[in-house]
């Protein structure tokens, strides 16, 4: 009897505790939902970034022992390094030219695919394939194609224009073009998919009205289509540009930054400084400068684009 009573009391207490817990968890429901995700972001993004502020201001080099405070020396090292400056220039040049090309080619594809026709579904499937390939694999594939002397591209060019002395992956300016081609191969489908979503959502009535009024097709495109899809164009270019400035994988695999340091991008430069030369302090200082540059881009481009639509 006594035991039973005790047991009952235990159950009751447990039930009461469960009730208060559930009341508490219901009250803080919305915060409990985001808590694990935020904890993880704090641990693996915010904490490392905060820690790296310290790294950027001290000596942090696997070859020089100790972590003496060095002030702005790490930042000076990067800012004054001609390789760093060149890599920033290369990054800007490569990302702007690839994104521009991808936009034009993708817009062309989207226009060509707007209307339905036989076989459209299959072509659609093929067109999106590069989006699912690892960038490092894309780089590997293009290296196979562009290499000399056994690659198919060099052979075809030789057949068409006579033998060349050009080395597609190391010669200037060909190495930059090769990198751009690989990037365009992978990411034109990105532009295409988003722009197509825009084009197919333009109301057909707009076109019909314009056609009735006898407006020329060029004018229709310029005055109706473009303004209608402008928000999507901005989104597509923003997303691409913010990824393009991080260009690393295809550099790593296609040129290795070379010859010399001529195809270093900023990400590749920072990787080399930190993980090949082990100047961790300088690399971290450089990453912070790069982070600030991209943060400016992000704030300018993304904030106004992704305002949640009113529900």
């Amino acid at each position: 009897m006594e035991n039973l009573a005790l047991k009952h009391a235990g159950v009751g207490r447990r039930a009461a505790r469960a009730r208060t817990w559930s009341a508490w968890s219901d009250r803080h429901f919305k915060w409990l939902l985001v808590a694990p995700a935020i904890a993880l972001i704090l641990a693996l993004t915010v904490y490392p970034l905060a820690y790296s502020v310290w790294v950027a201001f001290v000596n942090f080099d696997f070859q020089i022992p100790g972590h003496a405070f060095v002030g702005l020396q790490n930042f000076e090292y990067v800012v004054e390094d001609p390789i760093a400056r060149w890599s920033l220039l290369t990054t800007a040049f490569l990302s702007v030219s690839s994104v521009a090309l991808e936009f034009l080619l993708g817009l062309g594809l989207a226009i060509a695919m707007t209307r339905t026709f036989a076989g459209r579904g299959v072509i659609m499937l093929i067109l999106i394939v590069p989006l699912f390939v690892s960038p490092v694999v894309v780089g590997q594939i293009w290296s196979l194609i562009l290499q000399k002397p056994y690659g198919p591209f060099d052979y075809l060019v030789g057949q068409l224009f006579g033998p060349t002395e050009v080395s597609w992956l190391t010669g200037s300016p060909w190495k930059f073009l090769s990198l751009i081609v690989a990037d365009v191969w992978q990411w034109t489908p990105f532009m295409f998919v988003i722009l197509l979503a825009g084009l197919t959502s333009v109301s057909p009535e707009l076109y019909e009205a314009a056609e009735l009024d006898g407006v020329s097709r060029w004018q229709i495109f310029w005055n109706i289509t473009l303004p209608q899809i402008a928000p999507l164009i901005l989104i597509a270019i923003t997303f691409r540009l913010l990824d393009a400035v991080k260009l690393f994988d295809i550099i790593f695999i296609m040129t290795g930054g070379g010859p010399g340091t001529s195809t270093y991008t900023t990400s590749f430069y920072l990787y080399q400084t930190g993980f090949q030369h082990f100047h961790l302090g300088q690399a971290t200082a450089g990453s912070w400068l790069f982070l600030i540059l991209t943060a400016v881009l992000i704030t300018f481009l993304v904030r106004r684009l992704l305002r949640p639509e009113p529900v």
């Binding site: 690892s134 998919v193 997303f239 290795g256 991209t294």
Partner: protein, 285 residues
């Protein structure tokens, strides 16, 4: 409806100038897109003697699979494949779980307002190089370097903005009435989420999972730095081919094929959700 409306001109069928331009353009682009893939497939099944020839061998007389076995065992492709699969699946599960909870909270309660959701989104655009160095040092201190678990955590956090925002967008366009009805029926918040909202959001969850998986499967940079001899993933094996010799063309191509087939299959299956996936739900495809 107005009667007597002028019928639209039908261009279908006739080979107008428009159609000709369209066909030529699409055709050229498809060649540009497919030729590299064709060349990779062909290279992966060529006998070694066919590599160093001019003109190149466009189609091998005696296809062989030896490069696939060499890639799998000599180049440790199989170990990389297993690591990639384990890490990608675990990180996808974790990322979609945390992202779904977060997206739900954002969509239904506007938790933290625009600032919090924007902050989460901005993580998506962080340059990995800015984060990886301190993470590398942190992992070294706590013994997570070159472990699958360490990579899983890193991939979870980097794919989290994608999962959270895709689910945010999904829940936002899903009516809240059913959950409210469940609350009235005495389900409690968790019950309403678990038994009503999540089952309804399943298509969105699957789409988010596909994109998170593809992200993890194709990622190179973090794996390059945070893993070495034991937890290395499939993409990192390609660094072994840097400045490579003709003798390893077959293995490199075979590995490329092994790497791209699973993600292409998954991706094309999720084609309907592609636009949402690419823009983190900012554009409804």
């Amino acid at each position: 409806m107005r009667s007597g409306r002028r019928p639209r001109r039908r261009r279908k069928g006739a080979l107008s100038f428009d159609n000709l331009v369209r066909i030529v353009y699409l055709g050229l682009f498809l060649v540009f897109l497919l030729a590299p893939l064709y060349w990779t497939v062909i290279t992966s099944i060529k006998p070694v003697d066919d590599y160093m020839t001019i003109p190149p061998v466009w189609f091998p007389e005696q296809p062989t699979l030896v490069h696939y076995t060499a890639a799998m065992f000599t180049y440790r492709g199989l170990a990389g494949l297993i690591n990639s699969a384990v890490v990608s699946i675990a990180a996808t599960a974790l990322s979609v779980l945390l992202g779904t909870l977060m997206g739900y909270s954002f969509a239904r309660f506007n938790t933290g307002g625009q600032h919090l959701s924007f902050w989460v989104l901005s993580q998506r655009f962080l340059p990995p190089v800015a984060v990886v160095l301190p993470v590398f040092l942190l992992y070294r201190n706590v013994g997570l370097n070159d472990t699958r678990f360490g990579l899983v955590l890193m991939y979870t956090v980097t794919s989290l903005p994608l999962s959270a925002w895709m689910m945010f967008a999904y829940f936002r366009q899903m009516p809240a009435e059913l959950e409210e009805a469940a609350l009235v029926d005495g389900y409690g918040r968790w019950g309403a989420l678990w038994r009503v909202a999540l089952p309804l959001a399943l298509p969105g969850i699957i789409a988010a999972a596909v994109f998170a998986f593809i992200f993890c499967w194709t990622e190179f940079f973090f794996a390059l730095i945070l893993t070495s001899r034991s937890a290395f993933t499939l993409p990192t094996i390609f660094r072994g081919f840097l400045g490579f010799q003709a003798s390893s063309y077959g293995e490199a191509s075979a590995l490329a094929i092994v790497s791209l087939v699973p993600s292409i299959m998954l991706g094309t299956l999720a084609q309907r959700h592609l636009v949402r996936g690419l823009t983190l739900g900012a554009v409804r495809g």
